[in-house]
Amino acid sequence: MIRIANGQGFWGDWLEAPVRLVEQGPIDYLALDYLAEITMSIVQKQKQADANLGYARDFPPLIGRIARQLKDRGVKVVANAGGVNPVACAREVRRLAPHLKVAVVLGDDLYDRIPDLLERGHALANMETGEPLASIGDRITSANAYIGAFPLAEALATGADVVIAGRCTDTALTLGPMIHRYGWKPDDWNLLAAGTIAGHIIECGAQCTGGNCQVDWRSIPDMANIGYPIVEAEPDGTFVVTKHHGTGGRVHSDVVKEQLLYELGDPERYITPDCVADFTSIHLEDVDPDRVRVSRIRGGPRPPQLKISISYEWGFKAIGTLVYSWPEALEKARAADRIVRERLAGLGLEFAGIYTEYFGVNACHGPAAAAPPDPPEVQLRIGVRGASRKDVDRFTRELIPLVLNGPPTGTGFGDGRPPVREVIAYWPALLEREEVQTRVEVVE
């Protein structure tokens, strides 16, 4: 049996989680997930500004902090902290933790290859809209292939203490150690599906140990010290989801079910670079307190194409707010919204989108929310987006004047007008997997 823990569900997750996982009980592998879809464009910009950057900057100091425990306890780290510059990330880890052996997985970054790929007839069409990539031309800010678990296993086979990848799938961080330790083959579809589903369960950190859980949430113990998840994986593909003894939170089949369904599409076809996993085959069993056994998982052959994550400069947006107080707060906020829209039209400004919410009334649930009786206050929240920075900037000047020239009791403008933010949008595409060749390097 091997123990694989997840100590980071996204870049910005709890800094203490990976430290506690290493210190509070036995684990063999520590998986850390840093990359959301839009993170790649952020790190690509950082790299353009400084060739030594372009990775998750929280990661090297973390490894520096736990380097001694990793070595003493024999814990290996697998992380997609490399962003678009895994080698620079590895060098910084080596600087802060010189006794650790560090390997990187390269080959996912396609940014420089886009013109060549287009020229050779790859459309890289948007998976959601079908538009060809050529339509966003020179506005591309990053392009990465989602790579799977086998390159991570290859990196672990170098004897590395820390494996750093760029854009690998979140689930590969968990499956990679299983492939490495159990020698699973590229066509062991059921086993690969089992490891993939184990990865899906723990990839969002504490979301499978009682975090964001709707089942009797008040009774979940000691959430301040919530334990992050651990998978105890067997060579036959069965595994137990658990957490360290004495930590807070709860691992129960109800909690695991919620996470299994999180960000799920067609449950019979959960597609990864390694296999297609069938979520309708999963069998869950509560075997002990805070221990859920998962078995009977089936999978099918991996797809011929890899998913490509491309980001591009879309335009600009701004979101502004004003608060109206009782009485008739909602009615006043609605009147203010009509006035703003009329003034924007009068200025001849056109936006790709204007969106209004009444915070405290319908912001989260829209028409599904029950209408409250005359509420004590309502926040008017108006957002616009468009291609023109100038137009979006002009919008940001239209809210505060309403305090004096609109309906009564407008307030809550203390932070001034809202900032104009650049919008980097996401473009998912497919590419034949033969085009993506990964390689492993040990960084000295």
């Binding site: 879809e37 839009i38 959601e128 964001n212 709707q214 089942v215 109800d254 079910k257 919620e258 996470q259 299994l260 369904l261 999180y262 960000e263 799920l264 599409g265 067609d266 449950p267 019979e268 979520f279 309708t280 085959s281 999963i282 069998h283 869950l284 879309w314 947006k317 979101i319 989108g353 204007i354 969106y355 919410e357 915070f359 912001a363 989260c364 649930h365 829209g366 028409p367 599904a368 929310a369 029950a370 929240r381 957002g383 616009v384 987006r385 919008v423 980097i424 949008a425 996401y426 998912p428």
Partner: protein, 108 residues
């Protein structure tokens, strides 16, 4: 008699681009999975969210977990970084669906 869906099920929701997914899970699958199948149809889910969901609603069945998975298309004002919504990631759609009224399975 009507009861809220929250009486027999829990849920979690998330995003993929402009699409929201909602997993709806029976607390007691043996008693209530069939109720979910009968009461929580794609048509009723779409109607529950009204103008918030501009596209289709598709339902998948996971009998092994006593759960249904719904995909709500064009539900996040463009999704991701484009979205102007407070809940741009659809985190609260699951809770919203649990407020839907269904026929009390004990009275059917």
């Amino acid at each position: 008699m009507k009861i809220p869906l929250s009486r027999i099920a829990h849920a979690r929701s998330g995003d993929k681009g402009d699409t929201v997914n909602i997993g709806v899970i029976a607390y007691d699958p043996a008693r209530h999975y069939q109720t979910l199948l009968r009461e929580v149809t794609p048509e009723r889910v779409k109607a529950h969210f009204g103008e918030l969901v501009r596209g289709n609603v598709v339902r998948y069945e996971l009998a092994n977990l006593g759960a249904l998975n719904f995909l709500l298309f064009e539900a996040l004002n463009g999704g991701g970084t484009l979205s102007l919504r407070t809940d741009a990631q659809g985190k609260t759609f699951g809770a919203a669906l649990l407020g839907m009224e269904i026929e009390d399975p004990e009275s059917v």
